[in-house]
């Protein structure tokens, strides 16, 4: 009866039919939850009443392990905190211990660190945007993303021998110097990826079906983003210009020239004219733009590494590692450092009691706060849009559970 009325009188508001509420358990094995996330979705027909994340399926007690083993031995575990960007995870931990112990890092090590961190940022974003497109039903962009990621993996294999868990950074520098020809290869990779990313944009970023699935879905307002502690691309997608590399620069980031892309939904001249500020498409576009910014940084770092190679071999700037004792004993104290990872600001809080193992080690990650706001964002969406929101937040579960 009600449907017939709405057909006869199209101007009238459609009466909303309420069905009985149903609890749907989504996960922990589900192809779109990007790991072992379980969602308790209460649905009213196709509409989500609430979607409560249930975490802890990958709790591996990494913070507790940190209290048993010494500072250098913990480095491989940071690989596994966030496996999509192991280099950045290593970086965050190394910064923490160096701040605690007051160790200086040589210039060449800083350059190699930034080079590897930005390469890994690219490969992490490749998985994110590829998987998001795959969740939206487009399989080809995922294969493109993996194809580019393999090139980065080849570079990392050259420099440290591993494909996924690198364990490359060490306290006071990096484990090995760059092998001959590595810097040339990194430079060639920049020239390779730039046109490929333009091609990728033509393929999926401007695709109207893709835009319709993401624009206006899962909106996080700038106030909400700050209040709920979102970090990284999720925060910048809401239009807040905050990047640790720019606002509180560590390493040599203050000497590098790059932009901080932010979301511009609703702006008729921007990249997302039909959306709303802070929607899923904004978060996606920020990641695509960040790949270009990383490529810009890579270009500058490669040039500086060429300059660095011209120095005499015994110059202090040529060292790839500071000379430190084999077993680190750090005077009592505490340090908290932040670094910008692909999934946002990662903090390491390290407390030393004067022995060779940390007294307490706390990790603060971006995915955890993204899951915090998840229930608020998904309220009232369709079930299919929940998948879009998970994909656009780029959640990695071991980072949440640790």
């Amino acid at each position: 009866m009600s449907e017939a009325q709405s057909v006869l009188n199209p101007g009238a508001a459609k009466p909303r039919v309420h069905a009985e509420e149903m609890v749907l358990s989504m996960g922990p094995h589900h192809p779109s939850t990007h790991g072992v996330l379980r969602l308790e979705v209460v649905t009213d027909g196709e509409v989500v009443v609430s979607a409560r994340p249930d975490i802890g399926y990958l709790h591996r007690a990494i913070e507790k392990i940190g209290e048993y083993i010494d500072y250098r031995q913990f480095m491989p575990y940071t690989d596994r905190v966030d496996y999509l960007c192991s280099m950045n995870s290593n970086y965050a931990y190394a910064l923490g211990v160096e701040a605690l112990g007051g160790y200086k890092v040589p210039l060449r090590a800083e350059l190699l660190r930034v080079l590897c961190a930005e390469l890994n940022r690219i490969s992490s974003h490749m998985i994110c945007i590829g998987a998001l497109a795959m969740d939206m039903g487009a399989y080809t962009p995922f294969l493109h993303g993996i194809c580019h990621r393999e090139k980065v993996n080849d570079l990392f294999e050259d420099v440290c021998g591993a494909r996924l868990t690198y364990n490359y950074y060490t306290i006071g520098g990096v484990s090995y110097d760059a092998p001959p020809g590595f810097i040339d290869k990194a430079g060639r990779f920049v020239d390779y990826l730039w046109p490929k990313m333009v091609e990728f944009n033509d393929l999926i970023t401007g695709n109207s079906i893709f835009q319709e699935r993401l624009c206006g879905v899962g909106v996080v307002s700038p106030e909400d983003a700050i209040n709920w502690g979102l970090v990284g691309p999720n925060l910048r997608g809401s239009g807040v210009k905050w990047d640790i590399r720019r606002n509180e620069p560590y390493s040599i980031y203050d000497q590098l020239d790059f932009d901080v892309p932010i979301g511009d939904g609703g702006d008729p001249n921007g990249s997302n004219p039909q959306g709303v500020l802070g929607d899923s498409y904004d978060r996606y576009v920020v990641r695509v733009k960040e790949v270009f910014e990383s490529l810009k940084i890579l270009k500058q770092v490669v040039d500086r590494l060429y300059e660095n190679e011209k120095l005499p071999a015994d110059h202090p700037d040529r060292l790839y590692q500071a000379k430190l004792p084999a077993r680190l004993k750090i005077k009592p104290g505490e340090a908290y450092t932040r670094s910008e990872n692909p999934r946002g600001e990662t903090g390491y809080y390290v407390v030393s009691d004067g022995t060779d193992t940390p007294l307490r080690l706390k990790i603060r990650t971006g995915s955890f706060s993204a899951l915090g706001i998840f229930e608020k964002v998904t309220r009232g969406l369709m079930i299919g849009d929940v998948i879009a929101v998970i994909g656009s937040f780029d959640i990695v579960l071991p980072e949440v559970d640790r």
Partner: protein, 203 residues
């Protein structure tokens, strides 16, 4: 007859036994369950995508266990997750195989010694056919693991003489999830039942 084209005599007749024919089919279309928990899952994804291309071996990912022949346990299994893995395994139709990928699934990996929440080897819950070592294994190692599994399948026999019961496929070390899982419900359920009985007796 296409590629055969009278290569096997005038009528293209080949004599073989049923087992060989069935195994030929099983070996060359192993559809695997897309089941990734941790780091190894990324290598599993890259193994299935552009460069290594598992499609070459007739292997395509399935999202539901009801369509899968092979479960590749890729990544750390925690105590909270272990019973779910067993349930996924039970949902797969026979015949089914399991590859344990990476040190974590094999024996707990780097979390074996100090972690209180990690299961030390998935073979305590589901029968494993092939173990692939590495943390994480390279895609080449996984390809090798798949070919090892093909050898296992090649030896399998479907037909048996009348009256002979098939031997048990593999001993399962721990059959009851509650034996290892501190969060398992049965004990609590028993307590609740006992309390309910007491209440009933009082009334």
């Amino acid at each position: 007859m296409g590629i055969l084209n009278h290569k096997f005599g005038e009528n293209d007749v080949i004599f073989t036994n049923v087992d060989t024919l069935l195994n030929l089919g099983k070996e060359h279309s192993l559809w695997y369950l897309l089941f990734a928990t941790a780091c190894c899952g990324i290598e599993l994804m890259q193994w299935g995508a552009s460069k290594y291309d598992s499609d070459r071996f007739g292997m395509i990912p399935r999202s539901t266990p009801r369509q899968a022949d092979l479960m590749i346990v890729a990544g750390t299994i925690t105590l909270k997750m272990a019973s779910r893995v067993k349930r996924l395994y039970e949902q797969m139709p026979e015949p089914k195989w399991v590859i344990s990928m990476g040190s974590c699934a094999n024996a707990g990996g780097p979390f074996c010694k100090y972690s209180y929440s990690v299961l030390k080897g998935i073979d305590k819950y589901v029968p494993v056919d092939v173990y692939v070592p590495g943390c994480p294994p390279r895609p080449e190692a996984l390809i090798d693991g798949v070919f090892k599994l093909r050898e296992v399948i090649h030896e399998e026999r479907t037909l048996r003489k009348q009256g002979k019961t098939p031997p048990p496929r593999k001993p399962i070390v721990v059959d009851d999830p509650g034996a290892l899982d501190p969060f398992a419900k049965p004990k609590i359920a028993e307590k609740i039942e006992a309390a309910a009985k007491e209440l009933a007796n009082k009334n």
